[in-house]
Subunit: 470 residues, 2 copies
């Protein structure tokens, strides 16, 4: 192209970095494409070189991982007691959210949740006894994620708790999650008072057998279909689950009516679900888990299979590094706090619920759910920008989960840890906020970005694995 | 402002008419506001002068009408047989959609619906007998709208049909609508075969008493709240009612379970509602009707209280002209046709369902429901443009009904017939399309604009009323 051609042809500009440059160009009528550019995160030169050299291999592995997740068919197949179905579950084992952590490093709400579980199991009578027992070394702790399970907030699962049993029909793997307790004082936010335990007992004695029989009658409930519809109905199935809860309720109500021991029990179960728009969260989370677990252990893949927080650490796992955790300190969310609370009361980010974002839902699909952004002071167009940015760090667009406001574009699915590091763009996560002290509960809700450190460590970990074999 | 000031101050442009002018200005960085301008519709000079002279008086009357509609509190208070609750209902009376029309001018689907109703009532045994009876002069016909009622498509209500009873709690007025029959071969699209009558009988014998008892147990169901939530969940409550149907189902299911004669009946009723995402249409329509009826008969008001079609004529009423109808030919919708059907099969627009648009919902709130626009080949941004245009011809923004994608702006509510005529912008209506022959049913769905003629006649009618008194 000659200089003359250059001046006669239409000017097109690729804008890197500051978006305001692009806006100026656009005001002058110049066509431009904005590429969000920030300095890459620091990693050692040797790792960077390995990742560069193996770039094609990683891309291929990632495409394979993404294909597994897009093909996943999560269905609810039943309910059972944790002890009877969760691999490795024991009477003295408590599962928790996030990466591994010992009692002495656990945050307040996680300790509160564990104390509630020990009293619920009858292993302790008072909060004080429960705390003592938890610290005694007689109780084992392990991440939900290491047992095909997930849990919101503290993410506590103990042996006799009932759990949903999900199957990824495409891949055959199972997943597990407790039933959602509703709002107010609840175990998952670290509350452990008598009403918390009473409600858990009602869930075990009334809710669980009723739902179990109803699901058995139906055979299975297609959760992929419900999630896909819910994204067309204002949910992102993390912080907003009103539509998905409604659709699940519609699907299961006739079977509940037909199988419940009596109409009053059926009515109470329906009222419990109707009273809690977050009921479906405990289905969208394991649906995401069984979908992502299908993408585990693909050699060389920088595909993120887990993002999870225990209220102290934020941990991730990559497909190509198997069950290895890469962690960093969990951030404190910028949130809208309930009256009487401030950021000073907030516990650092906690819960396995970021599995929804890992699966392209939640914050990644926030454009489907502008009400969440409005709640924290943003606009509908902010929600579109948030989701658009997540396409920058993901591998695929979901074929079933669509964003109406983006002309039904598939949700940004499958985080490439390399892209997070290269672009300095962090996964956006919707979240609830727990009080940092045990026994209090929820103090707010908001959105936040994942921290850099786990992603820096993860790509270095992948480079080591790849480098060692080349 | 001196000429020098003009050139030194920032240039602002008001663009009238062709939008492409504005786009060019914007590309040059010039601030501009697009005002959609088209030539006004033709009305006689005398009427135009009266409307101009009385402009302030009309504005005040319209503000009063709009305030009535915004303050409306539509609730479902029960179900009853049409004969027992609808004012003026008689055994030999059939109510129908749209403005008044005699049998000989009725379209195919309306005739088919009337034939179905006569067989349902036991007044005729065969379609041929029914048609003969309908033409005999022994059966009276009257618009639903003249009896505080509304009906989708053919809009047929006969004496023994069960109807929802709604109340506008703010104003005290009642409204009525049949229960939605579901999809497939149904009376409202003009089908009259044995399965149509069978289903209507099941609705009378099983569905009606079960819902009646359930609503009685609850006392009342707040429809304004359900509609407000549904707009946040992808519905515009005319052609899309999935969310509203879900929320209604959630609200009523426990009461159905507690009051049904047996669990199997309860389950069947729940399955019937669950099987029909349009179930709520027959509640959003009368909810709109009772809201708008509160704004009737305000002297001098050009506020549109009714838009309705009988499949032959499109008719409107204004607050300031009471129960007078202003009509013109009903247009044939541009629609997406079901396989095997084309526009040549389509009946002109039919049904009272445009009462939702008259109330700021349906096509006026289509930005809340981009799936509808996508269905007919448009984009999500088209849906925003459609709703934005409706603000040009409306008086108020709803305080309860909001559009998430427009940053939760209140829906454009209360059509000013003057603005339609002045601006040449026509109300956008979502609609189903019936086959033009009786006995066939639905052939498509789409969106269309209201015709000009009823609005031209209506403002002239208002001018006459105003002129006569000045």
């Amino acid at each position: 192209m000659s200089v003359k051609d250059l001046f006669q042809s239409e000017l097109k500009v690729v804008n890197l970095g500051l978006e305001s440059f692009q806006k100026s160009l656009e005001q002058c009528g110049t066509k431009s494409v904005h590429v969000d550019w920030r300095p890459p995160l620091a990693i050692d030169e040797a790792s960077r070189k390995i990742l560069q050299a193996k770039s094609e291999e990683i891309n291929k592995a990632n495409a394979k991982a993404a294909a597994k997740v897009l093909a996943a068919k999560p269905v609810l197949i039943g309910l059972d007691k944790a002890l009877d179905v969760i691999p490795g579950m024991k009477k003295n084992l408590i599962l928790h959210a996030g990466p591994p952590i010992a009692w002495d490093r656990m945050c307040g709400p996680m300790r509160g949740g564990i104390m509630a579980a020990l009293m619920y199991e009858g292993l302790a009578k008072t909060p004080k006894d429960a705390s003592k027992l938890a610290a005694s070394g007689k109780i084992d702790f392990s991440p939900c994620h290491e047992h095909s399970a997930v849990g919101p907030m503290a993410g506590i699962i103990s042996a006799s708790m009932p759990v949903f049993v999900l199957k990824n029909e495409e891949n055959g793997n199972l997943g597990f999650c407790t039933m959602n307790e509703g709002l107010g004082k609840v175990l998952r936010y670290g509350a452990y008072g008598p009403t918390v335990i009473q409600k858990l007992k009602w869930m075990e004695v009334v809710l669980y057998p009723t739902l179990k029989k109803a699901v058995a009658k139906i055979g299975k409930i297609d959760l992929k279909n419900i999630i896909a519809q819910a994204l067309h109905m204002g949910d992102e199935v993390h912080n907003r689950n009103r539509a998905a809860t409604s659709l699940f309720y519609r699907a299961i109500a006739p079977a509940i009516v037909r199988t419940a021991p009596d109409p009053e029990t059926a009515a109470q179960v329906l009222e419990f679900i109707n009273g809690n728009d977050h009921f479906f969260l405990n289905l969208s989370m394991p649906a995401s888990k069984v979908s992502l677990d299908a993408a585990r252990d693909i050699k060389g893949s920088s595909f993120v299979t887990v993002m999870a927080r225990n209220g102290t650490d934020f941990g991730i796992q990559l497909s190509g590094t198997g069950s290895e955790w890469f962690t960093g300190p969990a951030p404190v969310p910028d949130a809208l706090y309930f009256p009487g609370f401030t950021k000073a009361d907030a516990n650092p980010d906690i819960g396995d619920s970021a599995i929804t974002e890992t699966n392209g839902l939640g914050g990644f699909s926030i454009a489907a759910s502008p009400a969440i952004v409005q709640f924290v002071g943003g606009s509908a167009s902010d929600s579109l920008d948030y989701t658009r940015q997540m396409y920058e760090i993901t591998i695929a667009e979901n074929t079933a989960y669509q964003i109406p406001a983006l002309d039904f574009r598939g949700s940004p699915t499958g985080i490439d840890a390399r892209k997070v590091v290269e672009k300095g763009i962090f996964p956006l996560i919707d979240t609830g906020v727990a009080h940092k002290e045990p026994g209090i509960g929820q103090v707010g809700a908001g959105i936040l970005s994942a921290p850099a450190e786990p992603f820096q460590k993860a790509v270095v970990g992948l480079a080591k694995k790849l480098g060692g074999k080349s």
